[in-house]
Assembly symmetry: D2
């Protein structure tokens, strides 16, 4: 666990043919699917399944992201996608997310999620109990 | 126009890197996106845009399909996806759809769409005015 | 195990937001990704990983399929995709594949794979040792 | 044409069901497919089709990107994806790319492409004649 990342969640996954492109590598867009799967499972470990965070009252949407592609993944690779909370605001979250293979960092991403009302996608506050769980998960464990 | 196809609608499209896989060809799943685009544009020519056919009262879903892959498409190919109504039932439609390159038939598909209520996806009748338009489009023009 | 299916392989998977569409259900095209993942993992259990079946000498491509959509899957559903060999020919394979949720059959597919040379995608014979493994996996175990 | 963007290329496109997710909006990952289509067509207008920029000697890969999501697109929207060269280096390109609907900016992206050798994806110089075309396209036209 990296001290400046709080709790880091890891999801193992496999590269299938659907993930690749004619360059013989994972299509750059598809790494973003991998990190979204990791975000979803990370949220689930906090007791926030999809019905909790994607319903008529609220949903999270990506408001911005910066992605650094270091090395490509290839068909059949076993990867790990990670998610770690870096900042928890009243209506938004900042995460660091990576895709790794073995010890190698392939993709490094900073992702901001905004909490919105589904109908018009206007910003809204994250519910209090959810906020408490998220803050706990973003704390750096002290030794 | 093929006499046993009624009106055939054609949509030109280009193969982009997103459509390919590590085999260097179009990923077999993605041809189904191509033919859905053709279906959507075909419906639009009948005055049935998405708000007409995908709303709180009804939507069309694919209930079955048979797909024959004859030849592969490759990156940068210029293709044509087609849609032709073969049968118009009270609550379902049968279409023949193809993907071609030049004169060559690459993919040949028979697709059945069911008209359903969105909430529980239970079958429902196609509205009368829509049915009339669909029947007209499935008629074989006489010489 | 169904007696008319030989060995059936099952792969559990989760529905993520990437798999859904604006109808609130899994986009019909994406079930085909699920069953391809099951095919790939099934092959791996037979000792045929991707480098064995997707290389400069050979690859398998889908030559035809028939897909029956019975019930929709939704966001966050836990599904099982299956693969079972029904017929092993000298240059092609026929599989039955399904997507299920709990005991419910959602999607039922018959898929034919052709063994081809990668360069021009011309048919070629399945290598002998591979054929033996495939035939063994398609046998109905006797009691 | 924006004076600080050089030549801006625009590609009109339509949102299909394949592009959406269960939130009823375009899945955030899919905007990146839209802007890649615009990049590809932009390159083509410069006389650089896929065989010129994606072959055994070279290909371009995305090395980093920053994406700002301002407003969502929805099913059936008519969008415009743009591409404009901001910087042409010896082995990399920086582009500004957007997705707009009418006058509204929905997605704003800065994308860096690296020119690499396909086999090991190691950086290589952009060929001279290509470089000249790219530099010409990145020039701000003077009045």
């Amino acid at each position: 666990m990296n001290p400046d990342q709080g709790v880091e969640f890891s999801l193992p996954l496999r590269v299938y043919i659907e993930d690749t492109d004619a360059g013989g590598i994972v299509y750059y867009v598809n790494y973003l699917k991998f990190i979204e799967r990791a975000r979803t499972e990370f949220m689930r470990t906090l007791g926030m399944d999809r019905s909790a965070i994607f319903n008529e009252q609220m949903m999270f949407v990506v408001s911005d992201m910066a992605v650094d592609y270091r090395q490509p993944a290839r068909l059949d690779d076993e990867l790990v996608a990670t998610a770690a909370l870096r900042q928890v605001g009243g209506a938004s979250l900042k995460l660091r997310q990576t895709v790794c293979r073995g010890g190698a960092l392939l993709v490094d991403a900073a992702v901001t999620l905004a909490c919105v009302s589904p109908e018009h996608l206007t910003p809204r506050r994250i519910p209090k109990d959810m906020l408490a769980k998220l803050r706990a998960a973003s704390l750096v464990p002290s030794d």
